[in-house]
């Protein structure tokens, strides 16, 4: 019986204490007609045998790829100390800190996470994290809807990650909300069009920086205009790039959200990731999810607790701000470790190296005849190439050479089948870029 400590003798002793003859007696409440119709699971295997099976499965995924995939999910270098520290049992086998006196490790770490995220995004408050960047956008909208009360329209820039916009569609289907998508303008977030749409029916406006095409923006004027119209401004950002880019705080965003995966989490085929959620002071009572606050114990010693719980589901039940009852605690702690290990300068170096490599890649790749840069405005570590043929054709030709040159925009944007979204990080070497240029040149 894997992981079960009881010997047959002990089981008998326990049954005797309970006063029942056998295990079956413990399940007598279940009506016989409800017993399983089938329970056809495989036989158990030894740890050795399962691990070896899982290694075989892992080996059927290619990890020797040279990949230029990004699209919101980036392969930055994760310092080894993160895994070493996060794999301490005291962190990963603890539960939600319901007993704060026995959970100060997690609580202080989350308090430090909230502090670090506020400082990185230059915002007033952060919660203890949400599931991912997409649900963070959805929760941000719901905050705006609650705040603005009767407004029901949401302005969404098409420069926001289309994966998240698709999620928004799902989440708002049953709600009395209208999503208005404002198209991009040749890869640029169309600030003018967004401004045009601002009116008193709009609860929130959502933009992304850098946008999905990699272009960096300054939304200060847009957000000012939004404020004048009583509209909540939501900005989705790329945390690593916040070390060099104008901050949500500087632009005047009301809510800033992000996918935190780039801060020290493995790509892990899509999760677990980290939903970063910050806001300004006036919105704090609308904030969903857990929040850790500082306080003192009976001796006056500093300590940390879950706070503002009146917002939460286990107190408020159906009146809660959200149904969320967990955070991505361990992921948040990993991202805190990442920020602590890199520090402000290390993070900036990471961002700048990534930007530099992307610009080198853009230069090399646009020197291939027929290939041009689609971005009309400055970009950071990601950009769009306009190809003389379908992007997926190029990808297909390169996949067998273990190169994935980027993401085909046609997957999410109609009429953009020839566009390829290319991302670099500090891990992208000049050599990789050189080979990519050669390979692409060869098939075009």
């Amino acid at each position: 019986m894997p992981y079960i400590p009881h010997t047959p003798d002990e089981q008998q002793a326990m049954l005797a204490t309970i006063g029942v003859p056998d295990m079956a007696a413990l399940f007598a409440d279940i009506p016989p007609e409800l017993r399983p119709k089938s329970f056809d699971l495989p036989q158990g295997q030894s740890e050795m045998s399962v691990l070896s099976h899982m290694e075989e499965l892992a080996a059927r995924n290619s990890t020797d790829l040279t990949s230029f995939l990004g699209a919101g999910f980036y392969d930055h270098y994760n310092p080894a100390a993160i895994k070493a520290l996060a794999s301490r049992g005291e962190f990963f086998t603890a539960y939600t800190p319901y007993q704060p006196e026995a959970s100060q490790g997690t609580l202080q770490a989350i308090f430090e996470y909230q502090t670090s995220i506020c400082r990185l995004l230059d915002m007033e408050y952060s919660n203890a994290s949400l599931y991912d960047g997409g649900t963070a956008i959805y929760e941000a909208i719901m905050m705006a809807v609650r705040k603005t009360r009767k407004r029901t329209k949401i302005l969404v820039s098409q420069g926001v990650n289309p994966i998240y916009r698709t999620m928004l569609d799902s989440y708002t289907t049953n709600l009395n909300l209208e999503l208005i998508t404002v198209p991009h303008n040749q890869g640029q977030t169309d600030v003018a069009a967004l401004m045009d749409h601002l009116d008193e029916d709009i609860a929130a406006i959502i933009v992304q920086n850098p946008n999905f095409f990699g272009s960096a923006n300054d939304f200060t004027q847009l957000f000012e205009q939004a404020r004048k119209n009583g509209v909540v401004s939501i900005l989705s950002v790329y945390p690593v790039m916040q070390s060099v880019l104008k901050t949500p705080g500087e632009m005047g965003a009301d809510i800033a959200v992000a996918e935190g995966q780039s801060l020290g989490l493995p790509l892990s085929f899509g999760g677990p990731y980290l939903g970063i959620m910050t806001c300004t002071k006036p919105l704090i009572r609308q904030m969903p999810g857990r929040i850790v606050g500082k306080t003192t114990d009976v001796d006056g010693k500093t300590g940390y607790v879950l706070t503002l719980q009146a917002r939460e589901q286990h107190i408020r039940r159906h009146k809660a701000t959200s149904n969320i009852c967990s955070n991505q605690s361990l992921c948040a702690v990993c991202s805190l470790m990442y920020l602590a290990l890199l520090g402000p300068e290390g993070l900036k170096r990471t961002a700048e190296l990534s930007i530099q490599q992307a610009h080198y890649a853009a230069e090399r790749l646009t020197s291939i005849p027929g290939v041009s840069l689609y971005n009309k405005t400055p970009f950071t570590n990601e950009f769009v190439l306009s190809l003389p043929c379908e992007a997926s054709k190029v990808i297909n030709a390169l996949v067998d050479k273990k190169f994935i040159p980027g993401f085909p925009l046609g997957r999410y944007y109609e009429g953009m089948d020839n566009m390829l979204l290319v991302a670099c990080t500090e891990k992208t070497s000049n050599q990789d870029i050189g080979i990519l240029a050669e390979l692409m040149g060869g098939v075009l």
């Binding site: 089938s38 329970f39 005291e90 203890a128 960047g133 998240y164 790509l267 899509g270 001796d299």
Partner: protein
């Protein structure tokens, strides 16, 4: 303990990437650049290692302590599953790879894990299909309610209500509300759902009934057949909250019993670690009639044995997660299920229920047990008698911390006064269970002889009782 900002030294370096030849200012105009300081902590790698090593020691955890937190199933988290999730072939995989035409062949191992885990969960629950997308239990609930809504919308039903019994998890009403429904609460009788009370509120507006079974009192819902009947009559769907699924594996399958939607908590029943509050994973299973509404993408197996991401489900509720769910978490659950196998899973359930009843029996003369009959994997007790002497459930909980045990869930469910909800799980040994009971009895004795000592508890933890009111008032949420 000092925060990392208090020990930060300007100019100190930790991990230190090489510098770019050209800074951001070379590539970006000033108006796009960060103007404000970036006051993150500046630490050496040793500073960071010591900081988190020391922080970790301030935590109780399953690795260090018995964690009888009711409804949370804090069982042992096998170490080898951590190794599985860290395999580079999984951990380094970009989720967009299989969405690129022709590149699916590069992720066959990962897609097989998803496909096969869904199959296993179907067999475990008796459901027709599963989605692994939901990223936590509450997220699974929301997904489940969205599926219920999609079903009724598609059928042209006009439904506005979801029924939630008072013994259900607190997230249930929140999830139903978030998804746009009105919540109707019904009172339990003798700790379980009263079919008459249910019948009294049933009408054609009812979209679904959300049940936790066994419920939060640790009791099996004996009137289940009657409830199913009532639901069918009004075309209401039956939702199974799987938070307590550890009580019942191999003994009852929600699908066989008539449930239409079920969510599971991989981080409870299937031994994936809780991580101090997350990440979790809350897969959702459905009966045949809800299959077509499941979120996309779905992994399908082609005739040639290849796995493939299929998006072609026009009635699907769409994307619930950016990709396929918390893949790193379900790797661990998958490995755990393969390790246990059929018999191991039945043993887990039986021994979880055995341990709960053993604790219940050993405590029954010391603590009020409101529903003192055979329970499932957990039971509720009440400190009402102790409260008369001024020792509340909270005091008992803090007393347990001083004895080196985590506390039970307290003041939940709300329907039991001074509630202590105890779930030992199947992985705690008899001597640990006995030590827990002995310590608890000792504390209960103290509530007679020296109640003040319990008001003072805890005294052995890194901090003593914390002022939660002050925290909420001061709103110091960052440094």
């Amino acid at each position: 303990m000092k925060t990392m900002f208090q020990t930060s030294t300007p100019g100190r370096k930790g991990v230190w990437p090489k510098a770019a030849d050209k800074g951001a200012a070379h590539f970006l105009p000033d108006n796009l650049l960060r103007g404000r300081d970036l006051p993150l902590a500046e630490l050496s790698e040793l500073d960071v290692v010591r900081h988190f090593t020391r922080l970790s020691r301030l935590n109780f955890s399953v690795d260090g302590n018995m964690y009888p937190l009711g409804s949370c199933t804090m069982k042992y988290n096998p170490r080898f599953t951590e190794e599985v999730a860290a395999l580079p072939g999984f951990a380094r995989l970009h989720p967009l790879v299989p969405q690129i035409r022709g590149a699916g062949k590069l992720t066959q191992g990962a897609l097989e894990v998803i496909y096969h885990l869904e199959e296993l969960l179907c067999e475990l629950t008796g459901m027709a299909g599963f989605t692994l997308q939901p990223m936590a239990g509450a997220h699974g609930e929301l997904t489940g309610v969205m599926l219920i809504a999609a079903y009724h919308r598609d059928k042209g039903n006009k439904k506005t209500k979801i029924i939630v019994p008072d013994s259900a998890h607190g997230t249930n009403p929140a999830s139903a509300t978030i998804a746009g429904f009105n919540v109707v609460s019904i009172e339990s009788k003798d700790g379980i759902i009263d079919p008459e009370a249910l019948e009294a509120v049933m009408d054609d507006q009812v979209a679904g009934i959300m049940m936790t079974c066994p419920n939060t009192l640790g009791l099996f819902e004996r009137n289940l057949p009657k409830i199913v009947q009532l639901a069918r009559k009004h075309d209401a769907l039956l939702y199974y909250d799987g938070a307590n699924f550890n009580a019942i594996m191999g003994k009852l399958r929600p699908g066989d019993a008539g449930f239409d939607v079920v969510h599971l908590n991989l981080h409870k029943t299937f031994a994936t670690p809780h991580g101090g509050g997350g990440p979790g994973s809350g897969p959702v299973g459905v009966s045949e009639r809800l299959l077509e509404y499941l979120p996309i993408s779905r992994v399908v197996r082609l005739e040639d044995g290849q796995y493939f991401l299929d998006y072609d489900y026009p009635k699907s509720i769409g994307y619930i997660a950016p990709f396929y769910g918390n893949f790193g978490v379900f790797l661990k659950a998958y490995a755990y299920i393969l390790r246990l196998g059929r018999q191991g899973i039945i043993n887990a359930t039986e021994n979880a229920v055995l341990a709960a009843n053993y604790l219940r029996k050993r405590l029954e003369n010391h603590l009020e047990i409101p529903y003192n009959r055979i329970c499932m994997h957990e039971f509720v007790s009440s400190a009402v008698n102790q409260a008369k002497k001024g020792v509340r459930a909270l005091d008992i909980a803090k007393g347990l911390l001083d004895k080196g045990h985590y506390a039970p869930t307290i003041y939940f469910p709300l329907i039991v006064h001074e509630c202590l909800m105890i779930e030992p799980t199947e992985t705690e040994s008899k001597e640990t269970l006995d030590r827990f009971v002995d310590d608890l009895i000792d504390i209960l004795a103290k509530s007679e002889t020296d109640p003040e000592s319990l008001h003072q508890a805890p005294v052995t933890t890194s901090v003593r009782r914390l002022d939660e009111v002050k925290a909420a008032r001061a709103m110091e949420l960052k440094e």
